[in-house]
């Protein structure tokens, strides 16, 4: 019993060690009752304190963010980012609902229509309520605003009156002085001083007026939170209503309905074809039968094209980064091995590596757009590559698993850019790993008279693997970072484009979406790195994982 418990414990601990989440080590040991005092101390040090620290960071964010006003409104607070997350997931759900609705047939479709209609009625009722609340809130809000503005307005009119009088006074003073100067009772310098003084006073008065006006405008433009919240709630319901209406449209005109309509046309044309005696009608109807039945067949392959959701953008980014990463690995590892084995190859490649490694991804993207883009001319959509990658079925019967990615030239350019930038770390590390192989191991290979291939596969590659994977890990990290920029620039669908579109959109909500994308990119990057660390640990023979 105790033995199995130990087995589970050490199995878990080994798993934690492998995955690199060392901080879960003390809690597991605590659960199995190993030295509780030490574990609790460790938990306090390495779990509780970091959590407290993060909480403080988030709190600072929460406090500081609203104080900074930008042209897209205030910087989003953590709460707004969370709201953005839930809204984005709701948006994704909606698109999925539409896709499913498009495919529904028979009874199910009828039932769904009924469901949607019931929901619509409910929603409309809710919308009316929300509208009322919102109207009331804005009325109250208007009153509040009015009450806040009123004293300011009085101040402003007072100021205006004062300014008018002061202006008059200044004018007379100036005229008097001018007369005196003309009569040579005062020096010319005196009038210059006075004019200067008066100009300063006028500027100060104007400044005061402007400040007051800005205050009034600020209050008007920034209605109280209650109004905003009520409006937001009303808009949300209105949005949902729009969605259900759209669903109803789709359900009433989905795949089944369209096909049925076309088939009806076919049978109608056939009937007319059988009945008529006019040769022209015969010709027209036979054509109608053919085109309509062809269209009816075509509908089977049709799919509802959902709008780009953040989940889809994420998937597409991941697909792009892996395509680029695998291209990079496929080029870098063999080249790196050759470099490591042969100093001449190394000498040949060193200038290329040194010159191209520092080149910015942006430059690569533009170059690839021109060079690789040329392959897809004149009409990329009809290029065999994209036709194959985007067709629903391969060879007519294998379901294409990547059809949903909607591959396009921009994606290829981004992948090539990722490959180009991710190439170098893998290449350099592989070359290093191969050339740094233990001399003694090579001596053993010589004594054992191993041939080139068994030396390569039994000695050189295994001993270089840890460094190869270290390089691949850096490559994937670089690739992920480069990809987001490449997508933003090339308008290839993905998280980069999402961020770019939101930036162009420029509303307060899209500002929160950018923050959300930032977290998604970061978290995915973190997990990609973890995966590579685990792979690296599995292939390296120094730290006890090679036995696995």
């Amino acid at each position: 019993m105790a033995k199995t418990k130990d087995k589970i414990k050490y199995g878990l601990l080994r798993l934690i060690d492998l995955s690199g989440f060392k901080i879960f080590d003390p809690p597991v040991r605590l659960i199995f009752g190993e030295d509780p005092q030490k574990q609790i101390r460790d938990i306090a040090k390495f779990m509780v304190l970091p959590i407290i620290f993060l909480t403080i960071c988030i709190w600072i964010w929460h406090v500081v963010a609203p104080t900074h006003k930008t042209k897209s409104g205030a910087v989003p607070t953590p709460k707004k980012v969370l709201v953005a997350y839930s809204e984005n997931s709701r948006y994704g759900e909606r698109e999925q609902e539409k896709v499913k609705d498009f495919e529904l047939t028979g009874e199910l479709r009828i039932a769904r229509i009924a469901e949607v209609e019931v929901k619509l009625v409910e929603l409309e009722k809710e919308a009316a309520e929300k509208q009322e609340v919102s109207a009331k809130a804005s009325k109250e809000g208007a009153a509040i605003i009015q009450s806040q503005i009123a004293p300011l307005k009085i101040q402003l009119s007072q100021l205006k009156g004062e300014v008018k009088i002061a202006k008059q006074e200044r004018k007379t003073a100036l005229e008097t002085l001018a007369a005196k100067v003309a009569a040579k009772e005062e020096s010319a310098d005196a009038i210059l001083t006075l004019v200067k003084q008066q100009a300063l006073t006028t500027a100060a008065e104007k400044e005061r007026k402007k400040t007051l006006e800005a205050q009034i405008k600020g209050i008007r433009d920034d209605p109280p939170e209650s109004i905003k919240a009520a409006q937001l709630a009303a808009n949300k319901v209105e949005d949902e209503i729009q969605h259900y209406k759209k669903r109803l449209d789709i359900l009433n005109g989905n795949k089944e309905v369209r096909k049925a309509a076309l088939l009806a046309k076919v049978s109608e044309a056939k009937a007319e074809l059988a009945a008529t005696a006019d040769p022209e009608v015969v010709l027209a109807k036979s054509k109608a039968v053919l085109t309509n039945s062809k269209n009816a067949d075509g509908i089977e392959a049709q799919k509802f094209a959902p709008n780009a959701t953040i989940a889809w953008q994420t998937k597409r980014s991941l697909a792009t980064v892996f395509v680029g990463f695998f291209i990079a690995a496929a080029v870098a590892i063999p080249l790196g091995i050759m470099c490591g084995l042969n100093r001449i190859v190394m000498a040949c490649l060193t200038p290329i590596i040194s010159i191209f490694r520092p080149v910015s991804p942006v430059v690569w993207l533009l170059i690839f757009q021109i060079i690789v883009g040329a392959f897809f001319l004149p009409d990329p959509a009809k290029h065999p590559l994209f036709v194959t990658l985007n067709s629903t079925y391969w060879f007519g019967w294998i379901k294409n698993p990547i059809a949903f990615l909607n591959t396009n030239p921009a994606m290829i350019f981004s992948a090539c850019t990722v490959a180009m930038c991710a190439l170098w770390p893998a290449l350099v590390n592989t070359a290093l790993g191969v050339s740094a192989i233990d001399k003694d191991h090579l001596n053993v290979a010589r004594v054992l008279k191993l041939g080139f291939w068994s030396r390569l596969f039994k000695i050189i590659i295994p001993s270089a693997l840890p460094l190869v994977f270290a390089g691949l890990r850096i490559s994937l990290g670089v690739g992920w970072m480069v990809l987001i920029a490449a997508e933003a620039l090339s308008s290839s669908d993905g998280l980069g484009k999402f961020v770019w579109d939101e930036y162009q959109n420029g509303s307060s909500q899209s500002f929160a979406n950018i923050f959300l994308a930032c977290f998604i990119v970061g978290i995915i990057g973190f997990f990609l790195d973890r995966i590579m660390i685990i792979l690296q640990k599995l292939v390296s023979f120094d730290d006890g994982s090679a036995t696995a």
Binding site: K449, S463, F541, A546
Partner: protein, 306 residues
């Protein structure tokens, strides 16, 4: 032993003839640096030779040249009836470090060379050969163990198994026990002596250890100091085989041999009362592994031997 029948006929053994062996390292600023000059030695079939000398005198250089790992600058080495040219499975080496592949277990490590040396043998027979070799070194229980799971002594046993699995004509031992504690060292010395007694291979051991040189070998070659090192003296060690450690260590002859070797080494100590007897510091930069650190090593040797 059925497995042995699979291997090439063990009766055909080759003597080793080393004649006028020279090793030079190029020196871009003058004469080449000659580490070994006119090294002459004939080894009989089945004979066990130990080579002893000060650090950096070129003992290991001779051995690696014999193994084919180090280029020969002049002279020649004949093993059997053939002049050697590069490494070959007829001469296998046990290195100072075990040099096991950390990603292979003991069985796989030994199998590495067996596959190449016995290409015509079936898989099952190869497996037998490997298992037999590991049994001989006392590792029948540790065939699936990885190097990092084994002690230094066990790792070196795998190294020995790997060398003898090739059924070489000549077994070359390059300070094989240098990194082991004395107890393990004694155990492995016995393992080697047993193997050699059974398989009657020709063998050469390079060592620092005077006791080891006397206890194990039939003849002990004392090398003069480098540069331009050669055979200084050869001591015949007249103990019967099989040898028993206790008997030999209590034999008065043993102490005579030991004294003789020590006297030779002391007399040749490169540093005497603080003055350097050679001043080839200029060459240090170009001397590679075999000849490196002549000065430091010599100083260390002088103190440890004296």
């Amino acid at each position: 032993m059925s497995t042995l029948e699979l291997m090439p006929d063990p009766k055909i053994r080759r003597s080793v003839e080393i004649s006028n062996l020279i090793k030079e390292y190029p020196n871009p600023y003058g004469d080449d640096f000659r580490v070994i000059e006119n090294f002459n030695l004939n080894i009989q079939e089945g004979e066990f030779i130990s080579v002893i000398g000060h650090s950096g005198c070129g003992k290991s250089t001779v051995l690696t040249m014999l193994a084919g790992l180090n280029e020969i600058s002049g002279g020649g080495i004949i093993v059997g009836n053939k002049e050697i040219n590069g490494p070959g499975p007829d001469r296998s080496v046990v290195f100072q470090a075990p040099c096991l592949m950390p990603w292979l277990n003991s069985f796989q490590n030994v199998m590495l060379g067996v596959k190449n040396v016995y290409p015509h043998v079936t898989k099952a027979e190869r497996k037998q050969i490997v298992e037999h070799s590991l049994e001989v070194v006392g590792l029948s229980d540790a065939m699936k163990k990885y190097p990092k799971e084994m002690s230094g002594g066990m790792q070196q046993r795998v190294g020995i198994a790997r060398a003898i699995a090739l059924q070489p004509k000549v077994l070359l031992l390059d300070e094989p026990f240098g990194r082991l504690d004395s107890l393990t060292r004694m155990e492995l010395q016995d393992v080697i002596i047993d193997i050699l007694a059974r398989e009657k291979m020709t063998a050469m051991i390079v060592t620092h250890d005077v006791d080891e040189a006397v206890f194990m070998a039939d003849r002990c070659v004392m090398m003069s100091n480098g540069p331009k090192a050669g055979v200084g003296e050869i001591l015949e060690i007249d103990f019967p085989r099989p040898r028993n450690r206790d008997d030999i260590f209590h034999d008065p002859k043993f102490f005579d041999y030991r004294e003789h070797l020590l006297a030779f080494l002391e007399q040749r100590a490169p540093i005497k009362s603080g003055t350097r007897t050679f001043s080839n510091g200029d060459f240090m930069g170009f001397v590679n592994k075999e000849g490196e650190d002549l000065e430091d090593a010599a100083r260390e040797q002088a103190t440890s031997v004296a």
